[in-house]
């Protein structure tokens, strides 16, 4: 998104930055064309969804792909009326899973990452290597074993069955360790300790604010990952009132051979389901930029 941001280079005393300014002025036509192609490649499907969601069921497959129609609000109304507004319940469930799950996951990651970066204890490298190995294992593979475990505890088909597995993110822990190592100087921790702050107090009052931009990144990653997760909730949940929007929408397509798939509702539902993600990214974008800038300065 913020591709054109000019990094604020800290001016070291005396050094002129004339050649750098020169470099920013020069644009490469090849690079521009490549980037434009890339942007088109990414945005075309979004445009397709946007336009397709304005079409009625009979127009969807018969009119030209990029000719918009006027039925967006009819489609939204129909989707809303589907089984007494079940779609919005799915959206609320998604928000719950992604919001609570990402917040909890960020906290766990921050605590684990900080501990791994700043404390010495036995088995530390073993733990970190396990976390690294966890980064390499796709979450999809774990869904069935997690189901079997939670079934033993009688917790399948509840909100917890999706929330609990979402709280641990090896990638988040890994990122937090890097962020903690890079942004929290040992001297600051020592100073806090001198002033009489315990481990918990210095973590909450000193470390968390310093890691804030990194934590926003972890939160966003995790939020998007949970929002888009299909396999875990699909396996865990049987009650369609607990479904997140991903599982719910796929159900509208998979009606069995004997019923027509509800394409227009799925397309409209998909469009509405990305709106919160876009809003979240726009809202948290400034933190993200600060973070990239901060990283550049350190390097």
């Amino acid at each position: 998104m913020a591709v054109t941001t000019v990094p604020v280079v800290p001016t070291t005393t005396g050094a002129t930055t004339a050649p750098r300014v020169q470099r920013h002025r020069r644009t490469s036509p090849t690079a521009t064309i490549l980037l434009l192609l890339g942007a088109a490649y990414c945005l075309m499907p979004v445009l397709w969804v946007l336009i397709a969601s304005t079409k009625s069921a009979s127009e969807l497959f018969t009119t030209f792909t990029f000719t918009p129609s006027t039925h967006l609000f009819d489609n939204i109304a129909f989707l809303t009326s589907y089984r007494d507004g079940l779609y919005w319940r799915w959206m609320a469930n998604s928000a719950l899973f992604a919001g609570v799950g990402a917040a909890a996951s960020t906290l766990v990651s921050a605590m684990a990452g900080f501990a791994l970066a700043k404390y010495d204890f036995r088995g530390k490298s073993l733990v970190f290597n396990l976390v690294l190995a966890g980064v390499l294992v796709p979450a999809v593979i774990l869904a069935v074993p997690q189901y079997l475990l939670l079934a033993k505890a009688g917790m399948t088909n509840t909100y917890w069955s999706v929330l609990l597995p979402s709280m641990i993110s090896p990638y988040g822990i890994y990122l937090c360790r890097i962020f903690a190592a890079a942004t929290v100087p040992n001297e600051v921790l020592e100073a806090a300790r001198m002033d009489g702050a315990g481990d918990w107090r210095s973590f909450v009052r000193v470390v968390l604010p310093m890691m804030r931009s990194g934590l926003v990144t972890v939160f966003l990653f995790q939020f998007v990952a949970i929002w888009n997760n299909y396999m875990l909730p699909f396996i865990m949940l049987g009650d369609d009132k607990l479904f997140p929007v991903t599982v719910g929408l796929s159900g509208l397509l998979n009606q069995g051979a004997t019923q027509p798939a509800m394409y227009t509702s799925v397309v409209t539902g998909a469009l509405l389901s990305v709106v919160p993600l876009v809003a979240l990214f726009l809202g948290l974008q400034r933190y993200w930029r600060v973070d990239l800038g901060a990283g550049a300065v350190k390097a």
Binding site: A57, S58, L60, F61, T62, R83, V144, Y147, L148, A151, K152, G154, T156, N157, F234, I235, G238, D239, D240, S250, G251, L253, N254, Q255, G256, A257, T258, Q259, P260, A261, M262, Y263
Partner: protein, 434 residues
């Protein structure tokens, strides 16, 4: 969309391999009329919750909650996962006929022979055989069935002065006439995405892909009968008078809409799909019996259809069986199934509930008379415990054959299916004859 059944198939396969020693909970609870129980019911039929509401109103002590699931394979994969895990399965489950052997061999379904009593007389023989698997046990009560019929655009047929084909030879001639008159138009398509469709066509010809003898299974996918059916379609595809694209794709929907697909070999539930996909063609379609191999001995196959079963994990099997019985044999429930849930009830009494043709076929008042006739001439067919393997092999092998447009490849695809199905049965530890 089509990826999900594959994924589900893989899940089922993985689970079956490890579930050989799992056992169901056989606690035999007798129904106490005053005990309040809550049952869950996994189904994908539309508006099933409204059908169940009628039961709940009349039975305050047995309250049933419907959890709508993805249709067919995904729901089965989920059920098998829950059975393997030992908890999480519903009390009642909608199960497609072809999945019942799989579910029974995984100990997922309860035997409700005692509760079913004299239900047998209320269902066609074929449907009843599908829920008993030819044994004394009863693994569910037939809910809906899908006798195959032939849908065609009567306006196109009238214009070209052709009649609805009575035999497969006439069907081939009609396909040639239509494609010749307009090179864009096809009478149908050979769909490599729909193994259930091809199984139904083979069933009509007299095939039965699996067989049980004592405790050993046999596989007859590559037999002379199915070879005849595959050869017929391979010939038409090679000739180019029948399309080779799969059904249920956006492209196929568009073809139904703009009149480039002018016929559909489907089942009794066809009107709902046509209405959903091609609403603008209302009033132009007609239905007839499938074209025949032998006009003197009319027959048809089955595509789709399911039973309602009680799962082995249910703690209230007697009450669940009572509900299942009501749902599929009570006249009021059959009326709701037909009118609200939009399925074609399997019960022999369904004619009473189906007096009006579906709205999309209001131009054909005898729609359900044709359907009732089709229901009567449905041939028997036995499914095996690894239908998922045979079906995904169909998708792969016939996908390539349809792509190649060569009749010889169609015969080869059958051999591939036969081998894959047989090998899998042996590998998963079933006793296999021959």
């Amino acid at each position: 969309m089509k990826k999900i059944p594959l994924l589900a198939g893989a899940l089922v396969a993985a689970l079956l391999m490890t579930s050989a020693c799992s056992s169901g909970d056989d606690s035999d609870s007798t129904a106490d009329p005053n005990e309040k129980v809550a049952l869950t019911y996994w189904s994908w039929a539309p508006n099933m919750d409204k059908v169940v509401a009628a039961w709940n109103a009349a039975h305050p002590n047995i309250q049933v909650t419907v959890n709508k699931q993805d249709g067919g394979d995904p729901a089965v994969a989920k059920l098998l996962t829950a059975i393997k895990a030992g908890s999480g399965a519903p009390d009642i489950m909608q199960a497609e006929y072809q999945k019942i052997p799989t579910l029974v061999s995984a100990d997922a379904l309860a035997d409700i022979a005692k509760e079913a009593g004299d239900l047998k007389a209320k269902f066609p023989e074929g449907a009843w055989a599908a829920v008993t698997l030819g044994s004394e046990a009863v693994y569910g009560v037939p809910q809906d069935s899908g006798p195959m019929m032939f849908y065609y655009r009567s306006d196109v047929f009238d214009k070209l002065k052709i009649k609805a084909p009575a035999t497969w030879d006439e069907y081939a001639d009609a396909a040639r006439t239509i494609h010749k008159a307009d090179a864009k138009q096809y009478l149908g398509t050979f769909s490599s995405n729909d193994p259930g469709w091809f199984a139904g066509l083979s069933q009509q010809a007299g095939a039965s892909w699996w067989g049980v003898n004592g405790d050993s299974w046999s596989v007859a996918i590559d037999d002379a009968t199915t070879q005849k059916v595959a050869g017929y379609w391979g010939g038409l595809v090679q000739e180019g008078v029948i399309d080779n694209k799969p059904m249920y794709t956006p492209e196929w929907n568009a073809a139904l809409n703009d009149g480039t697909q002018v016929g559909w070999l489907s089942a009794v539930w066809g009107p709902g799909v046509l209405e959903g996909n091609a609403a603008s063609t209302k009033g132009k379609w007609k239905v007839a019996q499938l074209p025949q191999w032998d006009a003197a001995a009319p027959a048809t196959g089955n595509w789709g259809g399911s039973a309602t079963s009680v799962t082995s994990q249910s703690k209230h099997k007697a009450q669940a069986a009572e509900f299942v019985k009501w749902l599929n044999s009570d006249p009021a429930a059959i009326k709701l199934l037909a009118g609200t849930a939009n399925v074609y009830p399997a019960s022999v009494d369904s004619a009473a509930a189906l007096t009006e043709p579906p709205a999309f076929f209001s131009n054909q008042p005898d729609f359900y008379a044709v359907a009732a006739e089709a229901s009567k001439i449905t041939k028997p067919f036995t499914y095996g415990p690894n239908v998922n393997v045979a079906y995904s092999s169909y998708n792969d092998a016939f996908g390539k054959a349809a792509e190649s447009k060569k009749a010889a490849e169609f015969a080869g695809a059958l051999a591939t299916m036969q081998q894959a199905t047989l090998d899998d049965l042996k590998n998963t530890g079933f006793k296999v004859a021959g």
